[in-house]
């Protein structure tokens, strides 16, 4: 889409101002020991987070994990029960939302239905005593930025969901906030628009350099957009890191299964410090686990191959039970009673699958490397 190229010329002065305004320290936002309870229910517990200037951060987790509550505490839309929020070395924990520096976009867009696109975007500027000409120029810039210039005089109900979300984004950015908060911004959109907007938001964020926090339950969204992901469950942050760190070094079976898909095979550590799955011994790093520990062996479906790649790869003989066609790849379900009582999932790129000619009931050798197999406690 050509309009994202226009980002280059967007409001350079503003951008420079913004960068100089915030350049001195490296931590833009610090959340310290933050907790929030609703009655007896502890929504978030002792959260600690540091976010760097200009970073794009995602709070990722299943619904009810407290990620939205955490975002709302940062915005001041919710008052924490304990702990503090520090923005640019200033403690803002007890400031009302109107005295904090942020823009926010909600899942529902929350566009004012009786105001035109132009008035929605200029909504926050009017109060800051801007001159009419300046407001017009600023709104035009923003409309251009989200490529909605020709829709300025329409009402929100006349726009599609994706367009409405872009208006909401422009409205949030209009006052040049230092912090952009996105609360499940893409969840209400259909798949195609979602993928499209993902990249747009990400590019926009990079260009503007605005520190951004996004809440999402969609791991793919988090992985494609974020510099850093905080995975949350039951009110706690259970792992943080770059998308690839989270994916390859998931520190718990929960994360391993939440981010991407994963085969879990129940196993035991035997006397030779090997992993015993039913009748088969598996070669892999057993870490700190000791003899007789019950563990789960975890292998990603795309890390199982049909050819040997390394000398010490593990081998399992299995039978194809079912093949699912998923477009760019095929998901094959294998059975191997000597290895596990569950079916083993293997993802095969469609191009490969065509060559191999997979068929039901075919018996094949499955290989996976020592490094790709992880074990978690049960």
């Amino acid at each position: 889409m050509e309009f994202w190229l226009k980002l280059n010329i967007f409001d350079e002065l503003n951008f420079v101002n913004f960068m100089t305004k915030h350049k001195n320290n490296n931590m833009y936002l610090e959340v310290k020991n933050l907790s929030k309870s609703f009655g007896n229910f502890e929504a978030i517990k002792n959260i600690d987070i540091d976010i760097k200037e200009g970073e794009f951060v995602c709070f990722l987790g299943p619904s009810g994990c407290g990620k939205t509550t955490l975002l709302r505490c940062i915005a001041g839309l919710e008052t924490q029960t304990a702990g503090s929020v520090i923005q640019k070395d200033i403690d803002i924990s007890h400031k009302p939302p109107s005295n904090r520096d942020f823009g926010i976009v909600f899942q529902s867009y929350a566009l004012f239905p009786n105001l035109s696109v132009f008035s929605n975007i200029s909504y926050g500027l009017i109060n800051n005593k801007w001159k009419k000409v300046d407001i017009k120029r600023r709104v035009d810039e923003l409309l251009d930025l989200v490529n909605l210039s020709e829709h300025a005089l329409k009402y929100p109900s006349q726009l599609s969901g994706g367009e409405q979300q872009r208006v909401a984004l422009a409205r949030a950015l209009a006052t040049s906030p230092g912090l952009l908060l996105l609360d499940e911004p893409l969840s209400a959109l259909d798949a195609k628009v979602r993928v499209f907007l993902r990249k747009q938001i990400r590019d926009l964020q990079r260009k503007l350099g605005v520190t951004t926090i996004m809440v999402t339950h969609d791991q793919e969204e988090a992985q494609t957009m974020a510099d850093r992901i905080f995975v949350m469950n039951e009110g706690k942050i259970i792992q943080s890191g770059t998308p690839s760190e989270i994916y390859t070094k998931a520190n718990s079976p929960f994360i391993a299964s939440f981010i991407g898909s994963m085969n879990f095979i129940s196993a035991k550590i035997d006397s030779s410090k090997k992993v015993k799955c039913n009748d088969i011994e598996i070669n892999c790093d057993t870490g700190s686990f000791g003899e007789n520990d019950s563990v789960q062996l975890a292998i990603r479906p795309e890390e199982i191959y049909f050819q040997k790649e390394n000398q010490d790869d593990n081998v399992i003989l299995a039978t194809i039970k079912e093949i699912e066609f998923l477009g760019s790849f095929q998901r094959v379900y294998f059975e191997s009673k000597s290895f596990t009582n569950d079916l083993i999932i293997v993802d095969v790129p469609s191009a490969n699958a065509r060559k191999i000619k997979l068929a039901n009931h075919a018996e094949m050798n499955l290989y996976f490397s020592k490094q790709d197999a992880r074990i978690y406690s049960k």
């Binding site: 919710e78 939302p97 239905p113 726009l159 006052t175």
Partner: protein, 567 residues
């Protein structure tokens, strides 16, 4: 308590929330002054003797030993239950015809059915006198029975409560999922069985709700039994007689309590069933579209035509009676009945009614809408919110007559600093707003609930104070329901009798009350004329409302009419 739950407002506090908190506390004070304390003084009055000494339940004991008064309770229950049964059946069939058949002229029938809303309840009673009274046209039809008594009360009550029942039942019947009927059809269920297994259970809460609303309205109505009750005493007329006739305020208070309790019970059952009703329909339901069925459509057409004809004949007769020279001897037409000077009244009471309706509509709408907004959208202390919400629902459970009497006891007390509003227009306006608070409040709440709950959060993040957003977004978006509320308050202020019968003074006589007094003096034609004046104003206001909705709202609501174009 389940009925006191609210939408969740999870936004953080802001200075506007503190202002809102402060404002809501003043709502609590107002409710205490104009609702709770008056009711309190009513209760305490019922526990005192004539000298104001506490006598415990002695008055209640006296009441129970008085067979005549006890008979009134029985009479009240009898007419209320009979009317309720008749209205529920008629209104159910009528709304079934409107929502579930392909009967022609639905719009026309809907319009006609709402006519009784425009008139005070006594208009029906007056019309019945013309039709079936001692000199009535169709007197013989009653086979020697008198219209003055339970027959008249029930007929008139059915007439004026019919549209109320129709509105609830139509809503209830239109909330139906067509997929249920499709499923039944696929399973080869007969139409009759589908009716009893899908239609009736689906509308069951609507029917229960209607029954209790109608019961309360008839049970607590004063105007109809006053005009056409004859010697048939009911609780409402007893209160009036005790208070106005015998100056026995204590007994009036006791009977008020007897009237209040069933009304309260009915109110809570109604609230409960309405809660249930809402949960029946999900956003994924498919709206029912009736299919043509010649026989059913024609039967329904005949039925609705008959009811429509009765409604037209009732209001038509009231109008005819108002312009006839001397019923039934001289049927020449005249406007002299509209000259109320002869009866020592003049048009003042009419102008007073219009003033009252205007003030109640303007101030009531502002107070009620702002109150609902504070409750729904601001972050305020949960306790405060609960209290205000409870107070807002309470007026519906209090019959107008009871509230009016409570106002006398409270505001007429010499040591009450608010004594100065007694016998003024102010007390009438306040009483009317409080009396009709609940329905207006619920309308406002429903409208506000439909607005995105994050609007306030967005505004705060953009550093726009909430009051500015209220002015720029909430108010414009909510204009249609706001107009509805003001119309509701206006028309009810014009037509109410029971709320104000104890509160008007020499300077503040009202049209509806005057109509009752004219009737009392035997000036039935003038009473009809006065009641018809109220109808004219109500129609005029409704028409204005329609014009405003069509013309003016089209500007502020432009966004509503611009649905996504297909480019």
């Amino acid at each position: 308590m389940n009925l006191l739950r609210f939408g969740d407002i999870r936004r953080g506090k802001d200075s506007s929330d503190r202002v809102g908190q402060f404002m809501l506390v003043s709502y609590i004070i107002l409710f205490l002054l104009f609702l709770v304390l008056p009711l309190g003084s009513l209760i305490s009055k019922s526990l005192q003797n004539k000298n104001g000494e506490f006598v415990g339940l002695a008055n209640y004991n006296l009441y129970l030993q008085e067979p005549a008064l006890f008979q009134s309770l029985y009479n009240s229950l009898f007419v209320a239950i009979s009317s309720t049964i008749i209205v529920v059946i008629l209104a159910f069939l009528f709304s079934y015809a409107l929502t579930r058949t392909c009967m022609p002229f639905k719009g026309f029938f809907k319009l006609i059915a709402l006519i009784p809303l425009l008139s005070p309840s006594i208009l029906a009673a007056i019309a019945l006198v013309y039709w079936f009274g001692n000199q009535g046209v169709l007197k013989e039809v009653l086979l020697g029975k008198s219209i003055y008594g339970p027959i008249g009360i029930i007929m008139a009550s059915v007439y004026w409560t019919f549209p109320h029942a129709l509105i609830i039942l139509t809503t209830s019947l239109s909330l139906s999922d067509s997929r249920l009927y499709e499923a039944a059809e696929v399973l080869k269920t007969s139409k009759l069985r589908a009716f009893f297994t899908i239609t009736i259970p689906g509308a069951r809460y609507g029917i229960i709700s209607t029954a209790f609303v109608i019961f309360t309205q008839v049970f607590t109505d004063f105007g109809v039994p006053k005009v056409i009750g004859g010697n048939y005493n009911v609780l409402a007329t007893d209160i009036y007689k005790e208070v106005v006739g015998m100056q026995n305020f204590q007994m009036g208070a006791v009977i008020s309590m007897v009237l209040l309790v069933p009304a309260m019970i009915a109110f809570f059952i109604d609230r409960y069933s309405r809660k249930k009703q809402i949960s029946l329909l999900t956003s994924r339901s498919v709206v029912f579209k009736p299919k043509k069925h010649f026989k059913v459509d024609m039967i329904m057409l005949a039925f609705c035509s008959a009811l429509a004809l009765i409604i037209i004949l009732m209001i038509g007769m009231a109008q005819y009676g108002a312009i006839v020279k001397f019923w039934p001897y001289n049927l020449n037409l005249t406007l002299k009945n509209y000259n109320f000077e002869v009866a020592g009244l003049g048009w003042d009471s009419f102008y007073n009614s219009v003033r009252l309706a205007f003030y109640a509509a303007v101030f009531g709408t502002i107070i009620i809408f702002v109150g609902a907004y504070l409750i729904e959208k601001l972050r305020i202390n949960e306790g405060t919110r609960n209290v205000v919400q409870f107070f807002a629902l309470m007026p519906m459970a209090v019959p107008g007559l009871v509230l009016g009497l409570a106002y006398i006891f409270f505001f007429n007390a010499k040591d009450n600093p608010l004594n100065f509003i007694y016998a003024t227009m102010i007390i009438l306006v306040v009483n009317t707003i409080v009396h009709f608070y609940t329905v207006s409040h619920l309308t406002a709440v429903t409208a506000l609930k439909q607005m995105d709950k994050e609007f306030e959060s967005v505004s705060l993040s953009l550093k726009i104070p909430i009051y500015k957003m209220f002015w720029r977004v909430t108010l414009p978006v909510c204009l249609p329901p706001i107009f509805d509320i003001s119309i509701y308050l206006f028309v009810n202020a014009m037509t109410t009798v029971s709320g104000v019968i104890f509160l008007y003074s020499y300077d503040t006589t009202l049209a509806s009350v005057s109509a009752i007094h004219l009737d009392e003096q035997g000036e039935v034609a003038k009473a009809a004329a006065m009641a018809m004046l109220i109808v004219y104003v109500s129609i005029a206001v409704r028409l204005t409302h329609t014009v405003i909705t069509k013309k003016v709202l089209r500007k502020t609501q432009a966004w509503r009419y611009n649905i996504i174009d297909t480019n």
